[in-house]
Symmetry: C3
Subunit: 153 residues, 3 copies
């Protein structure tokens, strides 16, 4: 049994990578709010009457705003569960190289996903492929954690 | 005061249960993407023009797709806050039996919620009841954590 | 290098504040479900046919329900990433006063955000301002974490 103090240790490169790449993902999610606001002002499409009134327009939806919102919702569907799964994975005492490369791949895939979905729309399978990389990494963590910490169900 | 090293310890059954059941919940959330995709292809109802074009259809919404998406959104509303609340609860040094049974009850309730909402629709109160079990467990954690770690507000 | 055992220690006021304020935020998010249900019954606007049938009405949307749901979605966009960012921030060994005041400011800002968005609608910039406080605190954590735990990207 690994001593958890060797894992939750600020000299452990896996913990440092976990904190660094998760901070990048947090900043990426935050960027979605800016992208949404930018599209809302560009197309004058606001969701709240009090916001629309400030621009002398009526509440309406707009395809480009909805596209950014779908990209944001996709983040909410995929990133919080990744945080939890990767925390558990870190405690399974994985190899440093594999763990850091999975953090990098997930983070890069989510940046690409947002870019091809909501910044500069690129034909499929760019979006599906970048989504799938993140999905399978989270799934690999989920499987590893279930097998590493069996409980009497 | 409990030593936290006794809690964050891979031989502690509560930590092992925390990691195991959270991994199951992560996998359950992931399944929502498969359920949504399955309904989208079945009813040929896609949210993005580039996806609809691949199937030679127009963007449209469909009641069965929206139902799965509501179930998924309900997960996003309930499961991430449960993760945070249960992490805090684990640090209050609860009884092993109670903690593991709450993990099991929450996890089972969320699986049932998805099943009766989006896989095989069963009349109320099946959905409300399974939702409420998860809700009250999270509320119990929230209350326990507020009382266990008082801060000068 | 700080010893992580000095941070993840139940006598550390930062960890206690982290757990206490996060529990308050969890309870605040839970309140959104009650606010949504209250509006749904008040305006008899339900999302599921089986719920609407129990009240002898048809499925429909309602502006007041949608307003509460937007406030809830805003929580989902902002609070889970805050949890992750503040966990990393706690491990950067910040000053106790600053850390606790940031926890307090974020928590208060999100309570105000919900109040002015979905309970008692107050003209802008009340909502924008309370949202921005939370947003910039999360951004400050993200920046601090990226600089404190550099990884070879």
């Amino acid at each position: 049994m690994t001593n958890i103090a060797d894992i939750l240790n600020l000299e452990n490169p896996i913990l440092r990578g976990f904190l660094f790449y998760n901070a990048l993902l947090v900043v990426k999610c935050m960027a979605m709010s800016v992208l949404t606001a930018r599209q809302r002002f560009k197309s004058k499409a606001f969701a709240n009457p009090e916001d629309a009134a400030l621009q002398n327009v009526k509440v309406r939806t707009d395809d480009n705003v909805e596209r950014v919102r779908r990209a944001h919702l996709n983040d909410l569907e995929n990133i919080p569960i990744y945080f939890v799964a990767s925390f558990g994975y870190m405690l399974t005492n994985p190899s440093v190289t594999l763990a850091l490369n999975l953090f990098r791949a997930f983070t890069a895939a989510r940046f690409v996903h947002t870019f091809v979905y909501a910044v500069c729309v690129i034909p499929q399978p760019a979006r599906g492929f970048s989504w799938a990389i993140g999905y399978f990494i989270t799934g690999f963590y989920g499987r590893t954690n279930c097998l590493s910490f069996p409980s009497l169900i």
